[in-house]
């Protein structure tokens, strides 16, 4: 900068002032390769005396993302943040089967390396190091370890850290070479040259195209999301998040803080309630939508035996018949528009949830206001109205019917569709 002419002295001085303000932060080149989790207030402190926009944004960040993990600024930080974030997310997922699937996927990815002409005797030590981290993660899950210090240790060990990062670099480079049309337009040089000078060299900083390719080729198939929070000087009080994974993350999201001025990446952790993501609760959500978008409070619903035992919450009479009813209004008699005739008391549908509870038809007869739209019990098939025959086996599925918590929102109370019977 000092070598430039002073033709634009004023704007140059202005530029330098901003540069100085925003460059207060210097990536740590002394600390560990991967730090332990720490408060994001340390980031806010870095910027306390800098550009007011950055100070405001980092203060806000400390609230929305209260913990962080600092990466050593040695040129590998972006690569290391993604690789560590990937394994930490796998560990937190605690699903040995998925872990095994991911290990197999990584072994398959090595065929990219063969396809672009890498020799196995050269890349196998890198692939082995990645497999070793998978094995350690599997062991930690099996042991029931709750903390990820084994991963922090592995990534702070120069040898395995370098090897895993090299493996991720080579996979990314190979992925780009196999999908050149996707990336060439964003590059200022031929793709092979880009890979040889920006992706593969040890300690070369990841740039935006490289990060996108890393996520596309290596991370995306895991269905983990990757979100980058840009700490730039744009308007506003929040850091700008960018989702760079191409589909809705189903399992979890790896979040990175990016500081454009220094090109540095760290890991961020959002403030969120701890959700017990056991597969039992999870499977149904996998089939439907993004877990994170849902009301967390609703999670308790379908595991609540009290709610589940309310018969009319269990089985929507409109299900399968295209005629939504209002089972949420037990005190209202069926309207004349109802397609269902008033059933005699002995035909009142007995909730499958109550089938194990001693119950007599006579007890129902004393409650005339109970909606009568439910299908009759199977013991009386001859009494069933014609439409009910479309649901012959539902009552036997009984307790396995689950409600989609999403539809429990107040504005959806008119209709209460149930999900398909949930079978294990």
């Amino acid at each position: 900068m000092s070598s430039s002419t002073n033709m634009n002295a004023l704007s140059q001085a202005e530029m330098e002032r901003f540069q100085k303000l925003s460059n207060e932060f210097e990536p740590d080149v002394q600390g560990p390769l991967v730090s332990t989790k720490q408060s994001s207030h340390t980031i806010a402190l870095d910027y306390a005396n800098a550009d007011p926009t950055l100070a405001a944004k980092t203060n806000d960040l400390a609230v929305t993302h209260p913990t962080t993990r600092i990466m050593k600024g040695d040129g590998n930080c972006g690569w290391r943040a993604v690789a560590f974030g990937y394994f930490e997310t796998m560990f937190n997922n605690r699903d040995p089967i998925r872990l095994q699937e991911e290990l197999i996927r990584f072994k398959t990815l090595n065929s990219y390396l063969d396809q672009v002409g890498h020799q196995e005797h050269l890349y196998e030590i890198f692939a082995d190091a990645t497999e070793e981290i998978f094995a350690q993660t599997a062991q930690a899950i099996q042991n029931g370890d709750r903390d990820e210090s084994f991963l922090v240790n592995a990534f702070n060990e120069e040898y395995s850290s370098n090897a895993v990062i090299t493996h991720f670099r080579l996979l990314t480079s190979a992925w780009m070479k196999l999908n050149p049309d996707r990336y060439q337009a964003y590059l200022t040089m031929p793709l092979d040259q880009y890979c040889g000078t920006r992706i593969e060299p040890v300690r070369s900083e990841i740039d935006e195209v490289g990060l996108q390719a890393l996520v596309d080729g290596v991370i995306n198939p895991s269905q983990f999301g990757v979100e980058i929070l840009y700490l730039d000087r744009s308007e506003g009080e929040h850091v700008t998040p960018h989702q760079i994974s191409d589909k809705c993350p189903i399992h979890a999201t790896i979040r990175l803080l990016y500081r454009p001025d220094s090109g540095h990446y760290d890991i961020l952790y959002r403030a969120e309630p701890t959700v017990n993501m056991t597969p039992m609760v999870n499977l149904q959500y996998d089939m439907t939508s993004n877990l994170e978008a849902w009301d967390q409070g609703a999670l308790n619903f379908d595991v609540s035996s009290h709610l589940m035992s309310i018969p009319n919450l269990m089985a929507d009479p409109g299900f399968g018949m295209g005629t939504p009813m209002s089972p949420m209004a037990p005190s209202v008699s069926p309207t004349p528009a109802s397609p269902f005739r008033m059933s005699p008391p002995q035909e009142i549908y007995q909730s499958p949830m109550q089938s194990h509870v001693p119950s007599h038809p006579q007890s129902h007869a004393s409650i005339p206001s109970i909606p009568v739209a439910s299908p009759p019990p199977q013991v009386m098939p001859s009494a069933a109205p014609p439409p009910m025959t479309t649901l012959p086996s539902r009552s036997s599925d009984g307790p396995q019917i689950r409600l989609n918590p999403l539809v429990m929102k107040p504005n959806l109370s008119r209709s209460l569709p149930v999900t398909t019977p949930f079978k294990k």
């Binding site: 890498h118 020799q119 005797h121 050269l122 890349y123 030590i125 890198f126 060990e157 120069e158 040898y159 370098n162 090897a163 090299t166 670099r169 080579l170 040889g196 000078t197 593969e200 060299p201 040890v202 070369s204």
Partner: protein, 176 residues
């Protein structure tokens, strides 16, 4: 008393871990270099060869490249030394020309200016790729950043004189 009983095995454990960490690193360099040597012997490239020095130390090698045809170095045999750090392949080997060579990107001590031996080093580069790169550097010097400015200038302006300088500087080393 209790303290010392507890700390002693811990310290022992820590030492053991440290040792095994270092062993892993050395083993990985050794394993990698053995794999490279095997590859060079099984599928040799024309005009290049390399072998570890005879002292049982796999971390230092001597290599030979033959000057490519239609270059001033045609038919010249050039010896080089490879010195591998413990962090290999995450750091580049130190490569020097042992044979005196007149070239824009090599200084008079045999030090080489080549990006893949510096900031563009990648962990999949290896003895073979380095030798092939050096071979092509002989025929295509990078005159934008010369170590030998006179050589760069002659290369561009007076190929005859350049070739005379190459042959004058060259000195065949005896096999040890």
């Amino acid at each position: 008393m209790e303290d010392s009983q507890n700390s002693a095995p811990d310290a022992l454990e820590a030492t053991k871990l440290n040792n095994s960490g270092q062993r892993t690193e050395t083993q990985s360099v050794t394993k990698r270099l053995q794999a490279e040597l095997m590859q060079l012997m099984l599928s040799p490239s024309p005009g290049i060869s390399a072998f570890p020095d005879g002292d049982g130390n796999l971390l230092s090698w001597t290599a030979t490249i033959t000057g490519p045809t239609e270059t001033p170095y045609e038919n010249l045999n050039l010896k080089l030394s490879f010195s591998f750090p413990n962090t290999y392949p995450y750091s580049a080997p130190t490569v020097l020309f042992k044979t005196p060579i007149y070239h824009p990107n090599v200084d008079f001590s045999g030090r080489i200016c080549l990006d893949i031996l510096k900031d563009k080093w990648s962990a999949v580069y290896n003895v073979q790729t380095v030798l092939l790169s050096l071979q092509s550097l002989l025929g295509e010097p990078n005159n934008a950043s010369p170590l030998n400015a006179q050589a760069a200038e002659l290369w561009d302006n007076d190929q005859e004189e350049f070739k005379r300088q190459v042959l004058a500087r060259h000195l065949d080393l005896d096999d040890e």
